[in-house]
């Protein structure tokens, strides 16, 4: 029987997958730490730091995919070959159980890295379980370990994945093997080519081991997404073997959703389980083609729906964009973790990173008024545009035309700062007027000098000649300090509006300005005067000192187009 030969080969392959999974799984357990704070970090350590970790993890991952695929193939071919017929019905049911347990291992294992992909897939799956009548929400909470998927949910998935399901899977495989040996499972031992059959099985098993190792090698391990972040935006998608159920959801909405998305797969599973009776030898047995048609429909339908879901995403522009964003975040997190993850976990690691956290903070708190690096709406911005802020070019433009829309033109400081080289429109022609800088060279020197005020150790070196420095400093002290402070000194004795120019644009200046603009370090008391509506607010009540530091670093670095440190 050619069909049973294939079934024997598949059974041997499934057993080989299981063996690979047990061996690699136990090895992985020597480095894996299941808690929301440590799971991702330990998987990252396995994948990127421990020698050989990536290969063991990759082999585990590929063997897991192969286990689902091969178990499903075994069921499909078995159904077509009639391998469910008495006296082989017990072996057949065990095969169905093996497929179910393989999928269960895939679902529980997917959560263990505690990354975005696994976490969000599991949240959605948990909510689907919660839709079930009567016990649904109870079961959902039991799986999640509470009302939200958290530490206990991870511990539960872990114990399912490494103890309960493997024990059941091992027992099912062993029982199936015993049935085959006794001759009620398969027909192989009645065949004259007994030795040939065994040879085939060994070759198949060895082939699986080689294939899984090669795939692990070629893919450099297994995928790892960004750490699970419950408050993030993430386009969740299930594992490939659940894409069919995902696609099915497309057709059932509202009250019919649970029934449509549970009854159809449930009916398919029931049909397969009942095949030994449906196709029992009896006088009025239906035509075999009729019996096999649903089996073909189940497997072809499942494959088609999966491909349908996959293709839909591949052509969805918004999904592609969200997916790319998620991938960029994963790459950033993986890079950050190379130097180690703090004990509070990878989310804390990301919260402490000036690049990631600074971006998020700027977007939430600064971008409503400012524009920088694509954040903020230039049409709605009422505060200075920060791209280039603190660079000579930006300052030169600013001191030439302070009321341009990208500077003070749309804010409460409009009309307060005079241009250094343009005669004020409202100044009567009879009154004498002298520009603050005598020529372009002086203006350039002034801009260079002011830009250098914000330099920090480690910034790109700035070639500023002593003569230039002296000229510019004299202009600042003679002309600018009429309104501005410079090193705490100014003609208005501290009551004015114009900010301190020494260390302007430095990290300390930026931090001080964000925390509270109304101090002598930056804009002084007048900055928060009620008469200046829409002035920059103080953030020291909204943000922690640490967050102010992070957003200051991010802003300063992105304004100057230098790396964030």
């Amino acid at each position: 029987m050619g069909d049973t030969r294939w079934l024997a080969i598949l059974r041997a392959s499934v057993a080989a997958c299981f063996a690979v999974l047990v061996l690699t799984g136990v090895t992985l357990m020597t480095a894996y730490a299941p808690s929301p704070q440590s799971a991702w970090a330990s998987v990252h350590y396995l994948q990127y730091v421990l020698p050989g970790g990536w290969l063991v993890r990759g082999a585990h991952w590929w063997a897991a995919q192969a286990l689902v695929l091969l178990s499903a193939s075994h069921v499909a071919i078995g159904a077509l070959a009639g391998a469910y017929r008495k006296p082989r019905q017990f072996s057949w049911w065990l095969s169905l159980l093996v497929l179910a347990l393989s999928i269960g291992e895939g679902i529980t294992g997917g959560l263990l890295p505690w990354d975005q992909h696994g976490w969000w897939a599991r949240v959605v799956e948990g909510n689907i379980v919660g839709l079930a009548p009567v016990l649904g929400s109870w079961l959902q909470q039991m799986m999640a370990g509470g009302t939200e998927l958290g530490a206990l949910g991870l511990a539960r998935a872990h114990v399912m994945h490494v103890v309960l399901l493997p024990a059941a899977l091992g027992a099912a495989l062993w029982a199936r093997r015993s049935l085959e040996r006794k001759g009620v499972g398969g027909a192989t031992n009645t065949s004259s080519s007994r030795f040939g059959a065994l040879e085939r099985e060994v070759v198949a098993a060895a082939g699986i081991v080689i294939a899984v190792s090669a795939l692990a090698w070629a893919s450099r391990g297994a995928p790892l997404d960004a750490p699970a972040d419950p408050t993030s935006e993430y386009p969740a998608r299930p594992e490939w073997f659940l894409l069919t159920l995902f696609a099915l959801r497309e057709f059932f909405h509202g009250a019919g959703e649970f029934w449509g998305t549970s009854l159809i797969p449930g009916a398919a599973a029931a049909y397969l389980a009942l095949l030994p009776w449906i196709d029992a030898p009896r006088p009025n047995r239906p035509n075999r083609v009729l019996l096999v048609a649903p089996v073909v429909a189940i497997f072809a339908g499942a494959a088609l729906l999966g491909v349908f879901a996959w293709r839909k995403d591949a052509h969805d522009k918004q999904f592609i964009k969200q997916h790319a964003k998620a991938e960029a975040r994963a790459a950033a997190a993986i890079q950050l973790a190379m130097v180690g993850v703090p004990p509070a976990g990878p989310l804390e690691m990301m919260r402490r990173d000036p690049e990631l956290r600074g971006h998020d903070l700027f977007e939430q708190h600064c971008a409503p008024c400012h524009v920088l690096d694509g954040l903020g709406d230039p049409k709605k911005a009422t505060a200075t545009k920060l791209d280039g802020w603190g660079t000579p070019a930006w300052i030169a433009e600013m001191i030439h035309d302070p009321d341009a829309p990208q500077f003070f033109g749309r804010g409460p400081y409009k009309g307060e700062m005079p241009s250094v080289d343009v005669r004020p429109k409202d100044r009567p022609a009879s009154k004498p007027w002298k520009p603050m800088v005598k020529d372009e060279a002086d203006k350039k020197a002034l801009a260079e000098f002011l830009a250098s005020q914000g330099d920090e150790p480690g910034d790109p070196a700035r070639a500023l000649e002593d003569a230039t420095r002296a000229t510019a400093e004299r202009i600042v002290q003679e002309r600018c300090s009429t309104c501005h402070l410079y090193k705490g000194q100014g003609d208005d004795e501290g009551s004015g509006l114009a900010p301190e120019l020494s260390r302007y644009g430095s990290l300390a200046w930026t931090r001080a300005q964000i925390a509270n603009p109304a101090t002598a370090e930056t804009y002084r008391e007048g900055a928060l005067d009620e008469s200046r509506k829409k002035h920059m607010p103080r953030f020291d009540s909204d943000l922690s000192a640490a967050d102010i530091d992070l957003v200051a670093r991010w802003t300063r670095a992105h304004a100057r187009a230098i790396p964030v440190r």
Binding site: P36, L131, M142, F258, Q318, Q364, D542
Partner: protein
């Protein structure tokens, strides 16, 4: 009293095994079951008033996604001042309306639609208008609105989570 010592020995062993079994089941099995079933008992918690951001950081009528910072308890872990959840805030004059970002369908976070104003879920394509009313897709109800108030220029939101996938709003804490 039985005469056969073998029978009486067997009887005694039976009794001891039974007593041991019953006591074992009671003394260990019940606590073990309670331990395993504990997560199911976690019920609805009260909403938590959480500081969101300053009112003037919101532009009139323009939805903004804001993370709510509060202490977060997960089994044995207490994290101080971390992101508890996120909301979409829309300002209307001096008041603010808030919707949980959690899609009422299966719990993904809804995002601003790419084309029309409003919100879309990236998981199963439920879409909502700018008022949070459902337009299309599998969501069984509108986006979950949350109570807000403005105090001395600061927006506060009463953060709650709800059961997913059902037409009614059932708070789960």
């Amino acid at each position: 009293m039985p005469d056969d010592p073998k029978t009486s020995r067997r009887g005694a062993l039976k009794t001891i095994a039974t007593v041991g079994g019953v006591v074992g089941c009671g003394a260990l099995g019940v606590p073990a079951a309670r331990l395993l079933l504990a997560p199911a008992d976690i019920g609805a918690g009260a909403g938590r008033w959480t500081r969101a951001l300053r009112l003037d950081a919101l532009h009139e009528g323009e939805p903004k996604r804001v993370s709510l910072i509060a202490d977060r308890r997960d089994a044995w872990t207490l994290e101080k001042a971390v992101e508890l959840g996120a909301v979409w805030l829309v300002r209307g004059g001096e008041t603010v309306r808030a919707w949980s970002v959690t899609c009422p369908h299966l719990g993904c976070a809804v995002q601003q639609s790419g084309t029309a104003p409003g919100f879309t879920c990236p998981c199963h394509d439920s879409s909502f208008d700018p008022e949070g009313r459902r337009l299309s897709g599998p969501s069984p109800r509108d986006l979950d609105s949350l109570s807000t108030r403005v105090e001395t220029g600061v927006v506060l939101v009463e953060y709650r989570r709800f059961r997913q996938g059902i037409p009614d709003r059932v708070s789960v804490g």
